[in-house]
Amino acid sequence: MTTQPSKLWPKMTGWEEFHFLTDFVLEHSSGDHTSLTLYDQHGGTTRFANNQIVQNVDTRRGSLAVTVAFGRRHGTATTTDFTAGAVQDTLKRAEHIARVSPEDPEYLPPVGPKQYLSLPTNRPETAVAGPARRLEYAREAVSQCKMENLNSAGTVSSSLTAVGVAANTGLLAYEERTEARFSLTVQADDATGWAAAAHRSIDHLKVQERTLTAIEKAKRGADEPKELEAGRYTVILEPAAVAGLLSWMLWMLDAKSFDKGTSPFVGKLGQRIIDRRLTLRNQPDHADLLGSGFTSDGLPVTESVWIEGGVLKQLMYDRFTAREHGIEPIATLESPCLSGERPAGSRVSDLIRTTQRGILVTNFWYIRTVNPTDLTLTGMTRDGTFLVENGEIVTAVRNFRFHESPLRAFNQIDAFTAPAEAVTSETGKLLVPAMRIHNFNFSSVTRF
């Protein structure tokens, strides 16, 4: 955790300013409980398409949320205006809402003072990376694609965010978090290749390496893709594709839905839900994950085990449901890492080499639930779908729609690699293995 205020202009809300803001709000509040949450972000994105910049933005946005409670009546007001009058006005609005709200039987006072992990969430190289650094990376990716006579589209972004949570219970947490992202789609005629990265440090985006990966995929697909019939196939899912399926599983771990019977995990807590070789942990201090010290509720993030040996060990608890069950402390899941015993190697190529016939999937797109009871999902393959035969990629194939539940697919795993960084446009960042899965259901084929 960083406590030194940034030297950037416009000046970010530093630790001392947040402390001052907290005192100001708490001193003026008439509520039984008052809490405030700060997000003050300065960042930007350079976006390119057709090998030139189409959008180039830099934004400063400060936001303050104030929640007031009288007994079990509570209300929240937010503002982006940090002038004294506006903050007072925000507090008054929150007080007014709380006064006229009905009692909420699930209301709990804010948490008290806590100890937090001290994590290197603020990387100075990202904090000072402005439009010039983003442009430099964009130019690097575009130049490589132009040299290959390929068309590129992508983004480079970086940001510094000051995050604070405080309350009149003594809660006071503050952290500065940096984040940098790179994503690239390379087009070769009708084919596309893709790669993406996210990291606290902009120095770790590996722009050149990932650009080459996307170029290689696009070039492999440039010949007329073969159309295969829909059906069940052995698939090799790259880490991004695994992340897409796994993320939907994690989003459905809500304990309250579990209690009400409206969760796909009803009856499965303590049961084996995926391959027995796999374990899912929360690893907030992992250098390649976007770990942070505390949650938006002010709860400390925790190292925790969610799935062990394929067995579901943990649900996602809100504070009320956790209290009902006597759960303390509440496990958090911001930095998921899925790993397994006896990986078949560290690279996707290790799985390709030992595959007799299968479909290699770079990424999935537009994943949505079809049936929440059994967690059947649908989505499309995207940006590099290939036929593998006798240990080699033999041709690109037209993209498939899948219709499959991760609760079924992750029990059909034949082999997997060591975990690798995975980030997509629809998920956060995870560490997950590539997997070879049998009988994966592709329900239809598209035109490209």
Binding site: F20, N50, V57, T83, V87, N151, K260, R408
Partner: protein
């Protein structure tokens, strides 16, 4: 409204008074905008615009017979966009001060200079007349003046009604309202101020039976109007029906996979149109601007005027002039006046949603006025217009009567479509089997899929104007960083022949 309304004049920033931070003055919006324009003109930009926005949002969310959240948000700031040497730059800030404006104006210009260093083709803007106007949403009751107690009572009563149905285990109900006060000025001389409202309410019931659960929902459209939308909706009359149908849905039988005729209701069609017609008709996608995220489009410019998108029954019209609809804001964020035009006429693809930049690339002299940003901090991008399906001449009963074995689908469910908008798959909120021209009983877990032009070419009947309904979208995702687009899609019921239907479960 007059520009500057909504700016609260208070003292200095509470941090700055002791710690030398952000705000030292309290200028009016016009003063800020003039300062920015002066700075941009001094820098020699080819074009610049400034948007100052104050968005107030009220969200009240009920869950399982309690009010879980009441939140009032105020989101205020300024965004400055410039075109310099044929390249774009944009900078924005939530700090509205005379010190901050020159900084972000200069930064927007500097960023544009950087963009220009990587330019291949210079950006040119289609001509648009200078507009000086004031836009106010017509309404009878300001939703922000309605007592919160009245709103929370309504939501609690709705949820109570829902839970009277045996088997219902979960409920949700919410009300939402937003006011956007905005000033748009450009270096070309346009000056437009806005006071826009939008309102919506909804609820749902979830039933549990035999280890399965299913949800049935009800929503008003999102409309640009006042609280009269809520008071004019009989939520309490709808609640028992929705709860009953939630239990009917969870107990309903599944159907065999195969080809079925479909009759789709207007709410369901709003999503089908949005995904399979709206997005592919965005010209920036067709030109590759979204290739890295939202995707491209099968409706490429060479297909305009000669591609059969649907049957002769299908006329899809973009209308950003229809009162109360979300994209009918008078002008877009290029300062272009809202218009009405054809996307598909007699089944042929004929038109795109455009902005001032991309319109010229297909030799259209004027933008269609579909360039929108979701806040002061976002740069405007091409957005789907209010695209609607022109009504036909049939009644709903007439559409059903000619179906031997089919499905009637209401509302939104699962949805997914590929990045060029060919291969789609939709569920729905409720399904009924049609047998020999009559809806007989509910069925569950229905999914249909197809290829967009094949699907729209199977349309052989559309209901008349008396069946027409409008539905709004406020979470249409596009752009990097992601933005939420707002638009309304209107339709009456329509019939599609022999569409592939599958069961929505892992056993399929």
């Amino acid at each position: 409204m007059s520009a500057g309304t909504g700016y609260t004049e208070y003292g200095p920033d509470i941090c700055s008074s002791t710690l030398a931070s952000h705000i030292m003055t309290t200028p009016q919006w016009d003063e800020l905008a003039d300062l920015a324009l002066t700075r941009l003109r001094g820098a020699g930009v080819e074009y610049g615009d400034v948007r100052v926005i104050d968005s107030a949002t009220q969200t009240i969310r009920g869950e399982d017979r309690r009010i879980a959240k009441i939140r009032e948000g105020s989101d205020r700031g300024i965004g400055i966009r410039v075109l310099y040497r044929g390249a774009w730059g944009f900078a924005a800030s939530s700090v509205l001060s005379l010190e901050e404006i020159p900084r972000i104006a200069d930064q927007a210009v500097d960023i544009a200079k950087g963009s220009a260093s990587l330019a291949i083709e210079k950006v040119h803007l289609a001509h648009e007349p200078v507009h000086r106007d004031s836009i106010v949403t017509a309404h009878r009751v300001d939703p922000f003046t309605v007592p919160l107690e009245e709103k929370t009572s309504l939501l609690l009563e709705i949820m109570d009604y829902v839970h009277r149905q045996h088997g219902i285990v979960r409920s949700a109900a919410s009300l939402w309202a937003q006011r956007d006060r905005k000033l748009f000025v450009s270096t070309e001389g346009s000056h437009i101020d806005y006071d826009l409202l939008a309102v919506q309410g909804d609820f749902s019931a979830t039933g549990l039976y035999d280890g399965r659960f299913a949800t049935r929902s009800f929503t008003t459209p999102h409309l640009r109007t006042g609280y009269e939308l809520i008071t004019g909706t009989n939520f309490l009359a709808e609640a028992p029906r929705v709860a009953t149908q939630a239990m009917e849905k969870v107990r309903a039988p599944i159907i065999d996979s195969g080809r079925y005729d479909l009759v789709l209701d207007p709410e369901h069609l709003s999503l089908t149109m949005h995904e399979s017609c709206g997005h592919p008709s965005e010209l920036d996608r067709a030109l590759g601007y979204e290739a890295n995220y939202a995707g491209t489009s099968f409706l490429t410019p060479d297909r305009r005027g000669n591609f059969r998108y649907g049957s002769g029954h299908v006329n899809l019209v973009a209308d950003n002039t229809e009162p109360e609809t979300l994209a009918a804001t008078g002008y877009d964020d290029d300062g272009v006046a809202c218009q009405k035009w054809d996307i598909v006429r007699d089944g042929m693809f004929v038109g795109y949603c455009t902005n001032r930049e991309v319109a010229l690339k297909i030799n259209e002299g004027r933008s269609r006025g579909s360039n929108r940003a979701d806040s002061w901090s976002s740069v405007p991008i091409v957005r789907i217009a209010n695209i609607g399906l022109e009504t036909g001449g049939a009644t709903l009963d007439e559409l059903l009567s000619d179906v031997k074995r089919g499905l009637y689908i209401e509302g939104h469910g699962s949805y997914s479509i590929d990045q060029r908008r060919y291969n789609f798959q939709f569920g729905g909120d409720a399904f009924w089997l049609i047998e020999n021209g009559r809806r007989t009983h509910m069925v569950r877990d229905v999914i249909y899929h197809g290829i967009t032009p094949e699907f729209w070419n199977s349309c052989d009947g559309i209901a008349d104007r008396s069946h027409r309904r409008r539905y709004g979208f406020i979470t249409c995702g596009k752009g990097q960083p992601g933005q939420s687009g707002w638009m309304t899609h209107a339709a009456s019921h329509a019939r599609f022949r022999q569409v592939q239907v599958i069961q929505g479960g892992a056993q399929t």
